[in-house]
Symmetry: C2
Subunit: 171 residues, 2 copies
DNA sequence: TGTTAGTGTTTCGAAGTCGAAATATTCGAA
DNA sequence: TTCGAATATTTCGACTTCGAAACACTAACA
């Protein structure tokens, strides 16, 4: 075991904040941002395994999730590429595969022949729902150290941050 | 604008939470997790552009950042692959490129000839520091709606979550 | 209505990533 | 000390992703 166990997430978090501050970052900013990324990284590891069991890649999951959470907004390949941080050309192939497996359906936009609309099939919905139920287990474990009240406070603070995100636009 | 502007981060967040709850997730959990991912996604978009200006890919940045924040722990390619969520074989090529550009240096571990130790060169450190200073601008904007006190509270709550992460291990 | 600029999707070649197998070394037990 | 299992890295072929260019259509304006 290499004479040392890999350092814990906690230790890594502390070292990282210290290094960012030493390199010129503000402490209160770096604590929040680094914590958010540490959490995301760990969750991503778990998702990847769970998704592999369902036969999905991380990228395919983003597509499934966005289609399932888009409300009533019609969704085009370009929009999917934007929200999943991927090139439009990659989305073409990804949708090919997913359509081949019967998870999504492409249909021409009746109002604009340049466009294609993408939506989930019944089978896509089922896969989405079973993934959410599985993921909720890990996510609940992740937040187990917080009381119900604290979760509410945490969510409220994050929501304040999110409410400002649309105005920043790459200033 | 396609008869509709792309929905805002905020609207997307609300729709997503609603959909996850409808699919069987717990609300207090989904609010926190979805908010964390919304924030990460937006930050990733900005980082990608900033890093492109510095001639770095997202993956190369992870390597640079981990080496810079690893404290005094010696770092091997396998460890880098783990913490950046990438296959060990990919790390080989990534390090080849980065070493070619003079950002990192590989040297045999004197204590174990199976191993290779990776560290930043002077040039690697400089690039790290300039990236941190640039990133800090966007990150500060992101948290601009929170008071100093609120940032502290947010960081404290996230740190509680992080402190539990090491014990979950893919239960 | 004809022209031009713009938008949305796909195709294409180059580059990055993956998992499995190959190679080299260490560690523990007989 | 020697054997076998475990660990660390790299090589290999298949697949995914990228950005640029091609293509098809729409929209604005004279």
């Amino acid at each position: 075991m290499s004479a040392r166990r890999a350092s814990s997430v906690q230790q890594q978090y502390r070292d990282a904040v210290a290094a960012y501050v030493a390199a010129g970052g503000e402490e209160s900013v770096q604590r929040v941002i680094t914590a958010v990324f540490s959490l995301t990284r760990k969750l991503d590891q778990w998702y990847r395994r769970q998704l592999a069991d369902l036969g999905l890649t991380h990228g395919e999951w983003s597509v499934l999730a966005h289609l399932a959470t888009a409300g009533d907004e019609p969704v085009t390949p370009t929009r999917l590429a934007d929200v999943t941080n991927v090139a439009a050309s990659s989305m073409t192939h990804r949708l090919d595969r997913m359509a081949g497996r019967g998870l999504v359906r492409r249909s021409p936009d009746p109002a604009n022949r340049t466009r294609v609309l993408v939506e989930l099939t019944e089978q896509g919905w089922e896969l989405f729902e079973s993934a959410v139920r599985e993921a909720n287990v890990v996510e609940s474990d992740t937040l187990a150290r917080l009381t119900s009240k604290e979760r509410g406070e945490l969510a409220a603070l994050l929501e304040v941050v999110i409410s400002g995100l649309d105005e920043i636009e790459t200033a």
